[in-house]
């Protein structure tokens, strides 16, 4: 357990405020500790019936026929749907705020058309009086399949003559469409400087290959939805989602409805981490509701979640880096082949933007491959793509430090990216905290603490995530008692109601208890992009700041009217309106609030933003491990997480993000994987065998928040949701190397893998 001789959670604050930076109790807290909070599966409506989804037993097969007649004849069954109930999307494309996507890909993932592309692919659905009846009826649906050979990894799928998933997928080669049918949806390249010259200048060149397994976000709450297709043709959906507007727009597109006919109410959500952005069951439940005339609820089983939703890509990565003897990195080359799963869209573009982002290297070439395989269509997972990439890069950087005989943090500091460093994908970095994070790591007591005993080692690693901006909206209404109600559209997964409310409170000089924030449905607030990309506290927070300023400016005019002075002479300081022209007038926010009706009517502040000035975040880990050399089991003795928050609006929840991201990174590093048999069946689709860390597997996770203000946000916030998951696998691999002198280049580094590496090192053969 961690050494408590120092503060386990440090905040290296650079600027202080009245509300921002404090640790109030979250507004939804009481509901969530008493069981009153309503999550998606808790929704109930009069006449509610229950849906269940039939999933493919094959990883790759043609659907020859589907016969639903027996299921329809079941006395308790109210409706059955298949792909035939949804219009063919043709080559229609939709922009769901994350770039252009072929509607057919989303639609055919919701219900398979012609082919099933992974085991667990939805094929049909049933609605019945009870869940038990619905599940029973699934067995009555007869599907005839023509099984096809599956391809399960990127290298396999890229081979000439590999079994093809799609009859119409051609490779986009370096930005240009080709007519080559392939499992490679796209190959792109970033280039900077002259890679050949770079390696020619290097004194030391290291090149290695890495493989990482498919892993799942593992949120504890399974996907769920309740849909009502009303008699006027309007659709209402209640669901646990990170993106109510994404669900609305996608469902409308798939069901060919105007967006105004679909209303999505985001319930409380039991975790997402990127996995609750895509649409799976919402349009299905809506169709079942249309056919049955009842509201329909679908709740996925855990196996459905693991086999039928979007995990994050497995990958095959080659990295080559060159450094001079003086510790200057001169060249870096990466080939990133990421498994998209059944449909294109592996998170390889963000991976390419992060793989070398931490280092200022003059000559860089990065090739990215988006490869379809017979696994579930992948989704985002906390800094999607970056963890795989950093596992490779950081391994090589630490190995270089070892060969050059320099401190691994010094080598990183020597080459750290800073403001003005040009990234391989083009743009120069704005103000970033890479150097500050590394310096905090170096000066942290953990780094200098002695680590004695055999089979023990210490590792370090860092990671970068650029974070996202994207649209957000917010309305604020002033109440007569001087409190405000704040309405926003970002589902609250980790205390963001409060971190957003705090920013409005700061602007208006109010105590946080006087702000009542709510997350509302898609008819009740302007378009707000997903809770994702570490963007909510930054972007929705900015919307709240602007809405609060709008309130402030309107109230200044009211004060001016009351005092009969020019509005320009009225200032607002810490919740007090002051006019200093001649006689000084003062009025608090609470004194002015009751006078609004009489001075022109209620005041509603509003803002819609799509902010530039996103601040990327760096994270780092120091980790100590002990390895049982007879079993290969890794025990974490001590773990410290570092991250640049820009400004920690609510430090407790920033620490929470850092600790949670670290725990997920540790699980990814040590045990989690999709264990597939050769037929493409996931053999460990339960929480018993998909081994996420338990409370007994982790130590206390100490945190150190670094605050390098983001110039793009009034309080300097950057967004902290994601970067923290990136370093753990690389830091653990480094620690394992230092403990028992093995080089782990494959995730997970589970006991079998570590033991086999130890045997190999010792020359032990079967």
């Amino acid at each position: 357990m961690s050494d408590q001789s120092y503060e386990p959670s440090m905040v290296l604050a650079t600027k202080t405020f009245d509300v921002v930076g404090t640790r109030p109790v979250r507004h939804d807290g009481a509901d969530k500790v008493t069981g009153r909070a309503i999550y998606g599966a808790d929704v109930t409506l009069p006449g509610l019936i229950h849906g269940a989804v039939l999933r493919s037993p094959h990883a790759h097969a043609r659907i020859k026929s589907i016969d639903t007649s027996k299921a329809e004849a079941h006395p308790q069954v109210r409706a059955v749907v298949t792909s035939a109930d949804i219009a063919d999307a043709g080559d229609k494309t939709v922009d769901l705020g994350e770039g252009l996507t072929r509607l057919a890909f989303i639609r055919n993932n919701v219900l398979a058309r012609a082919k099933v592309l992974y085991r667990g692919h939805a094929v049909a659905a049933v609605a019945a009086a009870s869940v038990h009846d619905a599940l029973e009826a699934l067995n009555l649906i007869e599907v005839e399949y023509e099984p096809l050979p599956p391809v399960l990894t990127a290298p396999e799928a890229m081979k000439e003559g590999a079994s093809l998933l799609h009859d119409d997928l051609t490779t986009t080669e370096l930005g240009k469409p080709t007519d080559k049918l392939s499992n490679v949806a796209s190959h792109f390249r970033h280039e900077k400087g002259d890679i050949e010259k770079g390696f020619a200048d290097a004194d030391l060149i290291l090149e290695k290959e890495f493989d990482t397994s498919t892993v799942h976000q593992g949120y504890i709450e399974p996907h769920n939805t309740t849909a009502l297709w009303n008699n006027d043709g309007r659709i209402q959906i209640w669901t646990s989602t990170q993106g109510p507007f994404t669900i609305r727009d996608t469902t409308a597109a798939i069901l060919e409805k105007p967006v105004s006919q679909v209303r999505v109410t985001p319930t409380e959500i039991g975790g997402g981490f990127g996995g609750k952005i895509p649409v799976y069951i919402d349009p299905v439940a809506a169709l079942l509701s249309k056919k049955s005339g009842h509201p329909v609820k679908i709740v996925m089983s855990r196996a459905d979640v693991l086999e039928g939703t979007g995990p994050t890509p497995g990958s095959h990565i080659k990295v080559k880096m060159g450094v001079k003897n003086d510790g200057t990195m001169v060249a870096a080359q990466a080939s990133l082949a990421y498994e998209a799963g059944a449909f294109p869209g592996a998170m390889v573009i963000p991976a390419s933007m992060c793989v070398f982002a931490a280092y200022d290297i003059p000559n860089v070439t990065i090739d990215g491959y988006d490869v379809v395989v017979n696994k579930p269509s992948t989704a985002a997972y906390r800094a999607p793509g970056a963890t795989n990439a950093a596992f490779a890069t950081e391994n090589i950087v630490s190995a270089m430090a070892e060969k050059l005989g320099v401190d691994p943090l010094d080598l990183r500091l020597n080459n750290a990216s800073k403001k003005g460093t040009r990234r391989a994908d083009g743009p120069k970095f704005p103000r970033i905290g890479c150097v500050e994070v590394l310096e905090a790591m170096k000066s942290h007591p953990h780094y200098s603490a002695p680590l004695e005993g055999p089979n023990r080692g210490r590792g370090v690693a860092i990671g970068f995530w650029f974070n996202a901006g994207l649209p957000s909206a917010c309305n604020i209404a002033v109440n007569a008692d001087g409190s405000i109600t704040l309405v926003e559209g970002s589902p609250d997964i980790g205390g963001t109601r409060t971190s957003i409310a705090m920013q409005a409170a700061e602007v208006l000089g109010l105590p946080i208890e006087n702000v009542s924030p709510s997350v509302v449905d898609t008819d009740s607030v302007g378009y707000t992009a997903v809770t994702g990309g570490s963007r909510v506290t930054f972007a929705t927070g900015l919307a709240a700041i602007r809405a609060a300023r709008d309130v402030r400016d309107q109230m200044i005019k009211r004060a001016a009217r009351i005092w009969g002075v020019d509005a320009d002479t009225v200032e607002f300081e810490k919740g007090v309106f002051i006019s200093r022209n001649g006689t000084e007038n003062r009025m608090t926010f609470a004194e002015l609030a009751p006078q609004l009706a009489a001075t022109g009517g209620p005041i509603v502040g509003r803002a819609g933003v799509n902010p530039p000035g996103v601040g990327g975040s760096f994270a780092g880990n120091i980790v100590d491990v002990e390895i049982d050399p007879e079993t290969g089991k890794v025990t974490i003795l001590r773990f410290t997480a570092f991250q640049d928050a820009g400004k920690a609006i609510h430090p407790s929840y920033v620490e929470g993000q850092m600790q949670g991201g670290s725990a997920q990174g540790i699980g990814w590093a040590l045990n989690e994987e999709y264990f597939m048999n050769p037929d493409g069946k996931m053999m460990n689709s339960s929480l018993l065998d998909y081994r996420m860390p338990t409370s007994l597997d982790l130590p206390m996770i100490d945190t150190c928040i670094i605050e390098v203000a983001n110039p793009g946000h009034p309080f300097g916030a950057r967004g902290v949701g994601e970067a923290n998951i990136i370093p753990p696998p690389a830091a653990l691999a480094h620690a394992i190397h230092n403990a028992v002198d093995i080089d782990m280049r494959r995730l997970p580094m589970n006991p079998v893998a570590v033991m086999e590496a130890i045997w190999q090192k010792n020359g032990v053969t079967d």
Binding site: G99, L100, G426, P427, P430, G533, R535
Partner: protein, 88 residues
Amino acid sequence: MATVFIPGSMRDLTGGQAEIEVHGSTVRDIVDELDVAHPGVKDWLVDGNRLKPSLSVAVDGVVSPLGLLQDVEGNSEVHFVAAIAGGC
């Protein structure tokens, strides 16, 4: 003049040039200007009256949500980069 950085995959349209100096006060001007000197550039970047949804434009390192409407200074750096959103 603003400096436009040409993505590797677009360089065959610019005769291999990686950086091109272009006049213009908005990204749209710049794209039009480029297309005159290097026909095909506009098709490559633009879809109707907006940037292709798969692309973003970064001016002086900052990805702009305004796309073609983004103002450009005389000495600005303009990059066309892939549009992506994160997940958390």
